[in-house]
Symmetry: C2
Subunit: 235 residues, 2 copies
């Protein structure tokens, strides 16, 4: 879907991980070898590659070993499941966009708030097109990338686009403890998403109320507002 959408705007090169990479965050591969596979065939309209690494590795490969230049735009997704709120930190999809941003490339991460394997991505199409064209036309402020999330709604029910802040929410973990056939205890990490942030300017509110959410995301993690207070500490 995202590929078709981008192909209507410009020349597209696809670089994707060769296996699922859910919740890989901003991991990169430095203690292991990496493989790059050319998937598309001679004459195919869109060059496609797969990479044995993480989503962030894919961005590095694309820029340094495939394009040998910075592209005009990097899009990542569309992720199966929301990357709103604190999920931006755990998400491989968003981390790929953040990596592009670090390298000075305008970048957008797209996610659909629907975990169903049969999720319908078609309602997102016109929004993806509009947002990508806006980024190409206006550029993005330095050090900023976009985290776009779509509600699980038919296109006609989507009310529009909202520029939001990241909701202050978190995951309440629960480890599902089981015993293997060999008698060894093991765990699955599960959890419940808890949103105590009632602000109507958050991405969670926008999605709950039928809007596409766009959060501008930065990779300067400095809590500038805390510097003054820390300077009063006695070391």
């Amino acid at each position: 879907m995202l590929i078709a959408c981008m192909a209507a705007i410009g020349d597209v090169v696809v670089v994707a991980p060769d296996k699922p990479q859910s919740a890989t965050g901003h991991a990169i591969t430095i203690n292991n070898t990496l493989y790059l596979n050319h998937i598309s065939k001679e004459g195919d309209a869109i060059p496609e590659y797969s990479c044995s690494g993480t989503p962030v590795d894919c961005v590095k490969f694309a820029v340094n070993e495939i394009l040998h230049r910075k592209p005009d735009l990097c899009v990542s997704g569309i992720n199966h499941g929301s990357n709103s709120s604190i999920n931006v930190i755990y998400s491989g999809t968003l981390s790929a966009a953040v990596e592009a941003g670090i390298e000075g490339i305008p970048a957008i991460g797209f996610s659909l708030r629907d975990y169903d394997w049969n999720a319908d991505f078609s309602p997102t199409r016109s929004f993806v097109d509009t947002i990508a064209r806006n980024v190409l036309e206006n550029g993005l402020p330095p050090g900023v990338i976009l985290n776009v999330n779509f509600p699980k709604l038919p296109e006609s029910a989507i009310k529009g686009i909202r520029i939001c802040r990241q909701a202050k929410a978190f995951w309440q973990e629960k480890f599902d403890k089981r015993t293997s056939p060999m008698g060894r205890d093991y765990y699955w990490l599960t959890g419940e998403f808890i949103n105590l942030d009632k602000g109507e300017d958050t991405d969670e509110w926008a999605l709950d109320n039928g809007y596409v959410s766009i959060v501008p995301v930065q990779f300067d993690l400095t809590a500038h507002h805390a510097i003054q207070e820390l300077n009063t500490w006695k070391f």
Copy 2:
């Protein structure tokens, strides 16, 4: 070193990954099973556990399956190698501290700017003690954790502690392409750290000039300053 230092302040429980986790970022393990191993023996002063997952998984295990409560302080490290500037995003050490912060636990990530296997961690000791005690005494502003980096210097040469912002630096990647004995191309990800930020209020400046750097780090990634500009876009 960090364990001994913390044991002088309070009761310590150690939970660490069971294998190297360099550059794992904020990855968590959701598509695989996890193992938790009790390493210490009955009667040992400090309970120690290892976990088959990432540094972030370790924090989740510690809170939910070992302590069954939030500790007063979470410390992570001391990492072998700097996590200053943009490295905060790639670092497993810092991501563990960020995870604790998300869960509302005061947290500090410590790193030493020395990649040598024989690196001397002893000059950091008094600073680790001072910083940890300050955090316990003063608390941290909500949504903030500390990224502490030590210069590679003897204790007598360290000039003091500086509260800093994250330097605007990045890695210039270079893939080292090789051929396996089976004739297949593979790559090692390498790179050069490029700091074009000349600010004297940055962590890189502090470390270059003989100071311990402390950057307050937040996990609200919203680029609040960009919201107004994005609201002028025509969707």
